[in-house]
């Protein structure tokens, strides 16, 4: 169901979700996006450039985080503007062959602003991994009926 603009309030909680991430997910994202930077799949390369190990693509985290908004909005095309800063890397442990996640990204959302003239709501996302905010100013503007 698409939310109705007039029923929204600033500060309204849009819920939260946990996204489990594995090395396989990063390989899938690399293939789907065309971003084959080895820092996202090769530990030796990642540590060689000063990272703690393989890290998730920032665009994987951004793309996965917005699903909370897409599902709430009822139509992926309602997201007319989406931006973020990448503040911390998301290291993903190698848990290949086990059922464990290599990282868990916690996403929550709330209405940050409402624009009655434009009929849009700004959703502010809080995105945390390993106890740190990995995205800053993660804001999605949603056009509502």
């Amino acid at each position: 169901m698409t939310p109705t603009f007039s029923e929204l309030t600033v500060g309204q909680d849009l819920g939260s979700r946990s996204i489990e991430v594995t090395r396989t997910d990063l390989v899938k994202y690399a293939g789907a996006s065309g971003d084959f930077n080895p820092i996202h799949w090769n530990d030796a390369f990642a540590t060689g450039v000063g990272l703690p190990g393989v890290i998730a693509h920032g665009m994987f985290t951004m793309g996965a985080a917005v699903q909370l908004v897409t599902d709430w909005a009822g139509d992926p095309a309602a997201v007319v503007d989406f931006q973020t800063r990448f503040s911390k890397p998301v290291p993903v442990s190698d848990t290949t062959g086990t059922p464990d996640a290599g990282a868990v990204i916690e996403v929550s959302g709330a209405i940050g602003a409402l624009d009655a003239d434009a009929g849009t709501a700004r959703v502010d996302l809080t995105v945390v991994a390993g106890g740190q905010k990995v995205l800053m100013k993660a804001q999605a503007v949603v056009r509502l009926a």
Partner: protein, 156 residues
Amino acid sequence: MTINPDLQGRSYPAAEVYDVGREKIREFARAVKATHPAHFDVDAAKALGHGDLVAPPTFAIIVAQRADAQLIEDPDSGIDFSRVVHADQRFVHHRPIVAGDRLVAELHVDGVRAMGGGAMITTRSEIFALAGSDAAAPREAVATTTSSILVRGEGQ
């Protein structure tokens, strides 16, 4: 390696055409763990008023990063890709991207700022859909993407 300060203001014209396919939308949607039916089921997308499968909100990064590659791979730019960190990203959608779109991107280098021994480079891709089969066909504005990359200097 020093970043060429003359990059600021440079533009790269639309190069290759990117054909948006249904299976690519489904593949990208699965890769970002999207489950909305409008990415997978044509009837569900049409029920929402779209002409075909709708791309996820960050799908345009595929086209934008291909455009960015023109700059990064330009020997004149001085950018070492292995030292690139993605700093920020924005997508402004003028209309949804749907399967069947034929997209081109114009790349603009909006900012180059020295940071320590490295540089912060801000690029903007203006993404258009072609109305016809050749690159000279009329174009419709689809999305504007803005990206800042930090090219780390030695010891950063």
